[in-house]
């Protein structure tokens, strides 16, 4: 089945794949997703703690901040493997996005505290920065002495109820700030997500010490650009993994399912459809490799284009493959009991995260034609 094909001279990537496969034996993805959904939690704390212990929450963080100091290829393979295993904790938001913001931020005590907590699992650090349409939320900061007051509301916050700290994007008289805010000071309302978790709207009217500023000025936009790029790459990889695994499940199912005295996989109409699904998943993997290699080489315009393309391609592939997978499962595919539906729901949710394929393609086109 399709898989990203990276150079892997020292075997790190193969080890990562193996460790996710072993993890999935302990914490089966579909089972844990169902139990989290049933409990109305936005995070499975037990799974998250085990992910931190495995070193995945600090994967992108430098070693002096308690992280593993690995790069975007390793992140891509980790995310792809999590996608395959349907391990659906919001690693992209809580570790890739938060991790990248912290990794590239200027040195400071608060940054170190958050980074170390993220890496060792003692803190859950969620970015607070988006409106409901994905654009930047309006979060206002005023300063009195060495105290900052943050007021405003942001949406689409992962693990908003479980978080210990928020990384808030805000503005002080027009100057962009990245501020660390204790979650305890926020008011949170949750909506369930299609993949059995929840997203919060976070309303702040909170005082924090000025020392909680992690970054300021032009640096903030640059931090978010870089973090979003890494997050999109991780999402693309996870989507590629979902697509590949959903195809594999479907191929196995159609080989087992007998109608008219034959396995339905022997019918040409179904074979051609599955070949097309395979092609979609294969292209998604190729696009992820292209983007990860480009980003690892230099975070330039070419890499930005590659990441936009990969997220668009993998999102289309995963949603398309999983929809077709449900059709090929027949009525079983429409039951909640059958795992294939969870793959589709997860794909739909990730596809909508940080830009759907249409918006990413238009972004790509604008960026390329502007040159």
């Amino acid at each position: 089945m399709p898989q990203t094909q990276f150079e892997d001279e020292d075997g790190t990537l193969a080890m990562l794949r193996d460790s996710v496969a072993a993890f999935a034996e302990r914490f089966p993805g579909a089972e844990r997703l169902r139990s989290r959904r049933a409990s109305n939690h936005d995070l499975d704390r037990e799974v998250w703690a085990a992910m931190a212990e495995a070193g995945w929450t600090g994967l992108l963080l430098p070693e002096d901040l308690g992280g593993a100091g690995l790069g975007c290829r390793e992140q891509a393979v980790l995310s792809e493997s999590l996608g395959r295993a349907l391990i659906s904790e919001p690693l992209v938001q809580l570790a890739v996005l938060s991790g990248a913001l912290l990794a590239d931020a200027p040195a400071g005590a608060e940054r170190s505290r958050l980074a170390q907590g993220l890496a060792d699992g003692s803190l859950i650090v969620s970015p607070v920065w988006q409106d409901l349409d994905g654009t930047e939320a309006d979060m206002v900061v005023t300063q009195t002495g060495d105290q900052l007051r943050l007021t405003g509301k942001a949406q689409l916050v992962s693990a908003a109820a479980s978080a210990s700290d928020f990384l808030v994007r805000a503005a002080l008289k027009g100057e962009p700030l990245l501020v660390s805010v204790p979650a305890a000071g926020a008011s949170v309302a949750q909506r369930p997500t299609v993949d059995g978790a929840a997203l919060g709207s976070v309303t702040l009217d909170t005082l924090v010490p000025a020392a909680n500023v992690i970054a300021r000025g032009e640096r903030v936009a640059a931090l978010f650009d870089r973090a979003v790029e890494l997050a999109r790459l991780a999402l693309a990889a996870e989507l590629a993994g979902l697509a590949s695994r959903a195809l594999e499940i479907t191929v196995d199912y159609t080989k087992q399912r007998v109608q008219f005295g034959k396995p339905i996989a022997s019918f040409q109409a179904l074979q051609h459809r599955m070949v097309d699904m395979w092609g979609e998943a294969e292209f998604a993997c190729c696009a992820v490799v292209n983007a990860a290699d480009a980003l690892a080489e230099a975070p330039d315009r070419a890499a930005s284009l590659a990441v936009l393309a990969a997220k668009a391609r993998a999102g289309d592939a995963a949603t398309s493959v999983t929809r077709k997978a449900i059709q090929l499962h027949g009525a079983m595919g429409f039951t909640d009991e059958c795992d294939i539906g969870l793959y589709m729901k997860r794909a739909v949710a990730l596809n909508a995260t940080l830009g759907n394929p249409e918006s990413l393609r238009l972004h790509f086109l604008a960026l390329e034609r502007a040159a």
Partner: protein, 385 residues
Amino acid sequence: MMQQDWNALPDDEFRRIFRDWVDENCPQHLRFMRKQRPLFDEVAEWYHALARKGWLSPVWPQEWGGMGLNPAKHIIYVEEWARLGCPRIPDHGIGLVGPLLLRYGTEEQKAHYLPKILTGEHVWCQGYSEPGSGSDLASLRTSAVREGDEFIVNGQKIWTTLAHCANWIFLLVRTTKSEKKQNGITVLLVDMTSPGVVVRPIPNLREEADFCEVFFDNVRVPVKNVVGAIDQGWTLAKAVLGHERIFLGAPSRPDYALARLEKLAEARGAFNDPAFRSRFAKLRLDLYDLSSAFERFARELRKGGDLSADVSVLKLFTTELYQRITEEMLDVAGEEARFADDLPAGAIDIDAMNLFLDARAPAIFGGSNEIQRNILAKAVLGLPG
């Protein structure tokens, strides 16, 4: 003359050397020809220029007059060729007969035929398909019956590209009727000036004759013209393409078509239409991702690996993308899509209809896309028959 070891050069340097010479020596009036398959005489000057330089045959070993390129360098050769808009030359001799003889031919056959390909004395075509044997090629019926030192060939080939400018044809013929249709097929090299060979061009959708019917009426062919073992030709026919299969999936046609679509759209103001922008972005990203996928297989070759059956995914994608791009050109043309000639687009004309019609072909030839899907279903997904 000292032979140059091209494979020892860094890729960039080889690319530069090759491109510079080709750009200087490929005649301008032959660049970006409308015709996908020009006749030998139409491109003879370019053919001979390449031959004189020793660059006509990229893959053959240097002892046989080729460049001896490895797959990595061959990909660069093909990419630069396409980028500079050089015309396709009649290349069945270079691309098919040469590799076939180099792998399965006798020393005598190699010494006789290979030099004549390089001089252009022999222009080859490929006699595979028959009226009743297209996708089901192994059912072929053109017969070769042995009489002493000769075979007597009777039957008909069809869709024989450039047969009307070729003087030699390599044929798949039935030498033995056997229960398993793949057995009893033989590869035979036939002089088309032999009595009993008749060629009839078939005009295609573009009202050009790229391909032909070829009739064989008691054509006498020496037994020494058999390649490999009698009755064992099917294996040879299947094995003749190695890493070259990647080129069926090269992005060059959709790449060229998208550039034309972009020019047409700019001239017609189509980019002001959000719906068009959305469709164009989809096509652009499909092309971009096709290049990423092509690179994945090219990388495999560079590492010294072989292509597996899954490389067919490139052929499916590139041919279907080529079609969609040219369909979009007709949409942009609006009412003007009724015209057979080119569309004025500012300083240049865009051959939208020509490309739209041309795009019907690649999804059919080289193993139709439906056959490719059958193969992928079995070879890659392991689906039952």
